[in-house]
Structure formats: C-alpha cells, structure tokens
Symmetry: C2
Amino acid sequence: MNRNELIQTIRARQSFLCIGLDSDIEKIPRHLMSEEDPVFAFNKAIIDATHDLAVAYKPNTAFYESRGSEGWKSLEKTIAYLKRQDNLFTIADAKRGDIGNSSKQYAIAFLGKMDFDAITLSPYMGKDSITPFLEYEGKWVVLLALTSNPGAGDFQALRVGIDNDRVFEKVLQRSPEWGSTENMMYVAGATRADMLSYIRKYVPEHFLLVPGVGAQGGSLEEVVEHGITRDCGLIINASRSILYASDAGDFAEKARQEAEKLQKRMAALLRKHEIL
Amino acid sequence: MNRNELIQTIRARQSFLCIGLDSDIEKIPRHLMSEEDPVFAFNKAIIDATHDLAVAYKPNTAFYESRGSEGWKSLEKTIAYLKRQDNLFTIADAKRGDIGNSSKQYAIAFLGKMDFDAITLSPYMGKDSITPFLEYEGKWVVLLALTSNPGAGDFQALRVGIDNDRVFEKVLQRSPEWGSTENMMYVAGATRADMLSYIRKYVPEHFLLVPGVGAQGGSLEEVVEHGITRDCGLIINASRSILYASDAGDFAEKARQEAEKLQKRMAALLRKHEIL
C-alpha cells in the first residue's frame, strides 16, 4: 500500500487506528484452545470484527516466536488472511536490524516472503542495517525513534554533542535521507505526547506510528494535538485494550466495541483538523 | 553454561572460536538440496566437523526466518542438535529488544523454549527491554555495544553530553549494573580492534563477543592484543570463512581446516598471554 492509498483509506474509514496483534496464547479466550490453531482463530475473529474500523494491523513477532515454528505458522496464516482483506496496511512489528547481509535476509522474510507492507526496525546499527529493506518497491520501514517504554530514557534521550540534541533527534535528522516520506515512518511513543512536537520539527510530513495509547496510558487527543498533519500523518496503535476486552465468547464483539470507540474519537479529530 | 564452565571449555579446547551459523540456503552446497532439510543437514555436517575446535555456535535468526516457518524448524533442529554435544555455548544471534511484555515473549522463545545459552540484544529501547532476559537463571544477554558494520558510525559513535563519551560507551557505563559478569556479554566489532581498549575501560571482566574476523576483515591478533583478559574474556566469531570454505562434497572437511587454522592461532595466543 503506497502513501496515497494509505491516506485515502484513512479518509474513507474515518480512522487511523492500527490494531496490534500481540496475540498471547495465555490470554486469548479459553474456548479457542480446542481450535487447530487457537492464535490464528483468535486473530481471524478479531480481524473479521474490526477490519472496517482500522486501517492497519500490526502482529508483534515476539508473541508468535514464543510458540516456535508453530507460532510462525500462525503468523504466516495471519498475514495471508490480512492480505485477503480490502485496503489494510500491514506492519510486522519485528524491531529487527543487523549488518547488511543479515538485514537482507530479514527483508526477504517479512517484506518478500510474507509480503507485509512494513516492518519496524531499530536504528542502533545505522544506515546499512536499514537500506536493504528500502530496496523493496512499495514497502515501508518504520524506524524506532522515541519508544513508549521507561527504558526510552536510557539511550534515546541522551544529549548529543555541542547542539545538545537527543539521540532520537539524531535518528530523525539523519535517517530521512535514507528513504523518503513514501517509504519511511517513525515509531513515536504516545506516553510522551508533547515529544511529538519535537519529532515534527524533523519529520513534518512522515507518517508516525504511535504505540502506547490504551494499556500504556497515552492520550489519543494529546497525540493528535501534537502530531497530526494535513494528511493525518498518524497511525495510532492499540493492542491489549482491544484484543482482551473480553475473555469470553463475546470477545470479538467486545473488541469491535473498543475499536469503534477509538474510531469515533478519531473521526471527530479528523473532522476537527479538517482532514475529512 | 555458566561463566566458569565457559572458561574451562576455552582452556580445554585451547580455543575461543564461535562459529556463526549464518546458513544461507542459496550458498550451501547444491548436493544438499536433495536432503529433507538442506539447511539442517548443512549445519549438522558443520557441527560434526568442528565441535572439538569451537566453544560456541551462533545461529543468526535472519537466515532461518527468510525461509519462514520451515526455516524456524531448521533453527529448532539445529539448537536441539547443538544441545546434544558436550560443552558448547549456544548463542541466538537475534538482535531483539522490545518493551517489557514483548521482550518477555522473546525470552520464552530463545532462552526458554529453544534453550539457547545466550541471545544478542539491541540496547536502543533501554533497561526494561533487556531485564526480562536476565531473569533466566544461568542464561546470558549479549548486548550490542559497538558493531562491526559501517553504520556503527551513525549513532553508536555519537558523542554524548559534557563528558564527550560516545553512545556505545554510555551503553557500557549503564548496562553492567542490569546484570553481572555472570550473565552479560557485549558485542564488540573486530573491524575496529583498537576500540576494544576503550571498551575494556568500562567492562574489564565481561566476556566480549567479537564478530568481523574473517569475511569482514578484522584481525584476530589485534583483537586479542586489545581485548584479552586473564580469563580470556573473548569469544571470536567467524561465519562465512568457515561455512563456505568449499561448495563441493568436501565442504565439511574444508570448514574444519579453516576452523582449525583459527583454533591453532587462538591456542598460540592463549599460551602467549599465559592463559594456558
């Protein structure tokens, strides 16, 4: 999905919601355990119940790898099912990054073989760990800038050199030239919404993927206030608050209700900012 | 494998060689393609031919993930086979790192389910992305400090704050207190061997995992000169120079010859530094 298609999808669905498929076999409803692949059955039900309210889905590879090769099969089935829906932006939340010949293999895995639209990457190893992913026409890199966890303060927030910028600002200064607004996005955590203003100084046009609304406590309205652009420019992720809204037979219905609450607030914000 | 056992293994084998199982299905000998699992057949032959010369093996997950769930099966078979050998230190070269509840899942995947001794992690997301791995008794985190690729200059080498230390030095200042010399190691690239002296200022006792000797051009002798400790304190990785020494029927024999060359040089260096 290219940038223009993404923007059109946001306008059409009046939503910039990403649903994070952090599908934990320990947390999904117990009645699904009799399914051949409980995690895929769970994901399928969540996708069926919410795909008209969301623009993006983001499986987090950690929750699949913890079940080994069986988990990878669930991931493969999930992305294949997502690709069969209309106009969904798919993000592998993998946070990879390695020397060039290894990153090339990760690119094959996620952008080639599984055909995700995008993958999250860590910037620590620099340019040549990222560029192999940018060689995939029509695919996206979502680079970690400022994350939503407490540890973001440890290295991302260190002040660098004589200009006193922080490490995450250096990432935002240097990396845009590796690609373009058509193939790069940035992760910007919602738990520090005011930081989005700093981030927008460096990347006024890039899409930002914002985790941390919901279970992690970030405010949707504050994120929009600080981060929205004329093209929206935001994809806001919620995972646990939607996935685990109920652990009973009504889990998909409750997930839809949670997603719809967010979508309605997003529609109002899109109207307020004259994007609809 | 704990620190003492690792040191004893290094002394017994007169080696601190790690063999990186970056096993690329495009590069392994063609005659193996008739095997049910060509990559596992390749790894098994390499392990059989070299396990008395190496102390550690390091499968790089990128080369398995590029083959999807089938690749993960090869990885699972490989670690299971490594665990059946005597006294081998096993490292999942996965370069993971995510918020706590996701890192916990990666820890289950690699240190729990597959039972690797160690996993490589990226420090970008800070302490709470690392500590879930340190909760596994007897297991190790190998944290990226200074990597061996050109992009290491982009962010790792940025000068920070008034004391002018580089980002990788901040990683080495802050992270040791998250664990101990018994459960943390650091990745330090061999392509800048003189940097190992800086690294030793911060972590005089920790083991360093040093990639970049061989195909990437680092010098074994220089690495040892700058990085060795009284307990050796080094695990030096070679991948391509051993794995792809031949692409014919003699590949395992040629791999052994390459591994043996390195082991002999390592034995001499251990004697020179009075560790044997």
